[in-house]
């Protein structure tokens, strides 16, 4: 095997699982596995986006009215926060790839977690809590008496379900990042083996992409002119 020459003495680098031919195949398999999961997530969120598309087409004015109840500045700020968190996550993986000290990897991971927590904090405090006080949370606090009430209620259902499920994914992501910080602290990663970081990065970037579409489709319906 030519991999013998490439690895030198390293036929079994740390983290190598013996059912694989070599580390390259193992990494390919784990990447493929995470993408298979992300494809199911595309369809999971896709179901809600499909329903949203149809109801938006059928009740456009209600959706415009509902969308204008949301504040663009918070949606936009959260989008910036998540984009920053994707950068820090990519840099965390790069630190592992280039053999940096574990302290540096942990630094980027914790920064990613702080940004993720900031996203959730902003959402809860300035959007959802305010929506609760204003009475535009269907089923929990509904006191809306403006135009298109049934359609607006439908829109707000979409808003809370879609951003709620997204927020749950963020929380899961924070849990995964915590595990990664612990694994890094225990010296599990090296330039030869950093697959858990890579595939968790795929998950985190995916959740960012979902938010990119949520922001565009929920906050900006019908324009703000």
């Amino acid at each position: 095997m030519s991999e013998m020459a490439a690895h030198g003495a390293h036929k079994h680098p740390p983290g190598f699982a013996h059912q694989f031919e070599d580390m390259a195949q193992q990494k390919e398999a784990s990447t493929l596995g995470m993408w298979a999961f992300l494809v199911t997530e595309i369809l999971f969120f896709g179901g809600m986006f499909t329903a949203y598309t149809i109801y938006r087409e059928l009740h456009f004015e209600s959706f415009v009215t509902g969308s204008h109840l949301l504040e663009v500045k918070f949606g936009a700020t959260n989008t910036y926060v998540l984009i920053c968190s994707s950068l820090t996550m990519a840099l965390a993986i790069r630190s592992a790839q280039t053999g940096k000290r574990k302290g540096q990897i942990i630094f980027w991971l914790i920064l990613t977690m702080i940004l993720g927590a900031l996203f959730l904090g902003l959402k809860l405090r300035f959007e959802w809590y305010r929506d609760y006080v204003d009475g535009i949370v269907p089923g929990i606090s509904w006191a809306y008496n403006g135009p298109h009430a049934p359609g607006v209620q439908m829109f707000m259902c979409f808003y809370f379900f879609m951003t709620g499920v997204h927020a749950l994914h963020m929380v899961a992501g924070l849990g995964i990042l915590t595990v990664l910080v612990i694994m890094t602290a225990r010296n599990k990663f090296s330039p030869e083996y950093y697959a858990p970081l890579e595939i968790s990065g795929l998950y985190w970037h995916f959740v960012d992409i979902v938010w990119i579409f949520l922001f565009a489709l929920l906050y900006l319906i019908g324009g703000r002119y």
Binding site: E57, V72, R224
Partner: protein, 117 residues
């Protein structure tokens, strides 16, 4: 099997990451700004076009798909293809519920499609 340099996978330069980061930030600012301009129906098209561009940047560079194998790419494309099936067929069902039998036959599809845009 792998075309990676060595066994660690492709290392993307920090400058590339930063470039993509600033492009994403600019895209977000653009999307937000364009929402305040009246483009009628095109507001949605522009917003989605920017969102898709941002997604491609994240997928290709942050998620390393630019440096990934063909097998990985096919899986990703399949995912979007299935999403397309779900949206297309669901819309085709729901949005044509009120259709009557059209004496014009299949030609009636064209005015409907034109009205969507």
């Amino acid at each position: 099997m792998s075309e990676h340099s060595g066994h660690t996978g492709h290392v993307v330069p920090v400058s590339t990451y930063l470039l993509v980061f600033f492009a994403l930030m600019a895209g977000t600012a653009l999307t937000t700004g364009v929402a305040y301009i009246d483009l009628g129906r095109w507001n949605t098209v522009v917003a989605l076009a920017i969102a898709v561009t941002k997604m491609m940047l994240v997928v290709l560079f942050f998620m390393h798909v630019k440096y990934a194998t063909g097998l990985t790419r096919i899986v990703i494309l399949a995912g979007f293809f299935w999403l397309g099936i779900m949206i297309t067929l669901s819309c085709a069902d729901e949005l044509t519920r009120t259709w009557e039998i059209n004496p014009a036959g299949w030609g009636g599809i064209i005015p409907f499609l034109l009205r969507l845009f």
